[in-house]
């Protein structure tokens, strides 16, 4: 039996890489819209509340990792969700690295930090003392609830629920912890 090798020796077109190249990443970052940039700054600000670092530090680290290629950008993933994910993962990574004590090893602030965290949570909740439904949603968010679970918790229809979430977001954004 003769096995044809025709076609095996021909060069097939290279499949597109699974991740963007650095040039593509740089181009994608350059082409972010003002809305995208505003969203990313807002997201970084949310994560940087009550942390030792500034929101710009967080965003810079995220962009640096992406641009340096240490954080691969899967092809086909849109810029804003991807960069938000990077910011988010770094924020959590840094949070885990920050112990409940001062970075110099001194533990004099340990209890104070823990107390502060509880106070900050109470501050956020107190923002919505005038709106029990929003307060319930915020509590749920803080406990990690998401999506339909939160809407069910609120008892609101989709439109009212989204309006309520916008209100929550704006109040939290304006809160300086």
């Amino acid at each position: 039996m003769t096995v044809s090798t025709i076609g095996l020796s021909t060069t097939r077109p290279e499949p597109a890489a699974a991740t963007l190249s650095r040039a593509e990443v740089a181009a994608a970052v350059r082409s972010l819209t003002a809305g995208d940039k505003t969203a990313l700054i807002k997201v970084a600000r949310l994560y940087a509340k009550k942390t030792p670092y500034d929101h710009e530090d967080l965003l810079q680290e995220a962009l640096c990792r992406v641009l340096a290629g240490t954080r691969a950008w899967p092809r086909g993933v849109q810029a804003l969700p991807f960069l938000w994910g990077v910011v988010r993962s770094i924020a959590w990574e840094w949070k885990k690295k920050i112990p409940d004590k001062a970075p110099d090893g001194a533990d004099v602030e340990a209890e104070e930090r823990r107390a502060n965290a509880a106070i900050d949570v109470a501050k956020v909740i107190a923002l919505f003392d005038d709106d029990p439904v929003a307060q319930a949603i915020v509590r749920g968010m803080m406990e990690g609830a998401r999506g339909q679970e939160l809407q069910d918790l609120s008892g609101l229809d989709k439109t009212d629920y989204e309006s309520k979430r916008t209100k929550i977001r704006r109040r939290v954004e304006k809160l300086s912890l």
Binding site: A34, L46, W84, N116, D120
Partner: protein
């Protein structure tokens, strides 16, 4: 719905909240976000401009990281995959960094190059060669050659005999710069910040304007007198007062049911808080009771803490010089009196600042 006084116990609560609200931000229409930015900052494109600044920094940083990666790859391509050569290369790099840092600290751009007003002589007395040994390159050269270093222009101190007789003072260890030396007189007896006030009263000379590093910092720092012999190790640094103010609570005095781990200094809100010595900022953050807390790590594992501060002017990782303004004093304090809480820690252990501060 019944309010719950402590409904969320998770220490991740704020990050969970940011996760949830981040989803909303990403899903929000761009025009709405821009309108919100205009509402918050008065300019719809303010956030975008901030992003561009951050992005530019990130590009530079990413280039540096890529270069570091190339260096590692280059080293491994030459058979440096084993740990020994890699460690040797790392050690060589570390030596370069340390040497550069040393040069930065002892480079002859400080006192010796600066015209110092006469009113600062007292505050500079402790930095006279007799007390600190050769620190600038010119001084080192002179010491090595057996001839005393010439006093810098404008300085009128007279080198004590010890300066020429004991050139064995360290040449590279910055930490010993303030080590007590028997021949070092606590001359002058000037009050803290006298030099600072004198500087404010006189316009800076041209050389001060162009070379603000060591000399200006020294002028801002209060004069330090040597502590009693034997109270601290020879290599322990001395520190300057973070501000001029009355000590309202001493070290070990009762404070909130526990011994005070530092000292509390009364100061009007907005008073400059100065770094007690050269160091690196290792923490800047708010505290529940103390306004902002700034921690600066110094030589020999010393850390100074500045509590109840307001408006920090430094950020994590900044190198600060002695006398550099790092914050403003805040309004918080015991009994409503504005105070700065100041600690000196050896490692994690608070020590009595009086051992290290000049008489105030």
């Amino acid at each position: 719905m019944e309010p719950d006084p402590n409904p969320v116990s998770s220490r991740d609560a704020l990050h969970n909240l940011a996760d949830a609200l981040g989803e909303d931000v990403v899903a929000a229409p761009p025009e709405r976000l821009l309108a919100e930015a205009a509402e918050d900052d008065g300019d719809a494109h303010a956030f975008a401009a901030a992003f561009d600044r951050v992005s530019a920094r990130a590009v530079r940083q990413s280039v540096a990281r890529r270069m570091a990666g190339h260096v590692r790859a280059f080293a491994s391509s030459f058979g440096l995959a084993s740990w020994k050569p890699a460690m040797a290369a790392t050690a060589a790099l570390a030596v370069l960094v340390v040497a550069g840092d040393l040069y930065w600290h002892v480079r002859p751009s400080g006192i010796s190059d600066t015209v110092v007003p006469a009113t600062r002589e007292a505050s500079l007395a402790r930095d006279a060669p007799a007390a600190r040994g050769p620190t600038t390159l010119s001084e080192k050269k002179s010491a090595a050659g057996g001839t005393p270093a010439s006093p810098p222009t404008g300085l009128s101190y007279a080198p004590s005999p010890a300066a020429t007789e004991a050139p064995q003072a360290r040449t590279g260890d910055i930490g010993a710069a303030t080590a007590p030396a028997p021949a070092a007189p606590a001359a002058g007896g000037a009050q803290p910040f006298a030099a600072n006030r004198a500087r404010a009263a006189k316009p800076a000379t041209e050389s001060q304007k162009t070379m603000p590093s060591r000399a200006v910092v020294t002028a801002a720092a209060p004069p330090a007198a040597e502590p009693p012999a034997g109270q601290r190790a020879a290599k322990d640094p001395s520190f300057g007062w973070p501000l001029r103010g009355r000590v309202v609570a001493g070290f070990g005095s009762p404070s909130r049911g526990a011994p005070n781990k530092g000292i509390d200094l009364a100061a009007p809100p907005g008073t400059d808080v100065l770094a007690a010595d050269d160091g690196i900022v290792v923490h800047v953050g708010r505290t529940r009771r103390g306004g902002n807390l700034v921690l600066v790590r110094h030589r020999h594992d010393f850390v100074t803490a500045y509590g109840r501060a307001d408006k920090p002017t430094v950020k994590l990782g900044d190198h600060v010089r002695r006398g550099q303004v790092i914050a403003k004093s805040g309004r918080g304090g015991e009994g409503g009196e504005p105070q700065l809480h100041f600690e000196i820690r050896k490692g994690a252990t608070p020590v009595d600042p009086a051992q290290f501060l000049p008489p105030g």
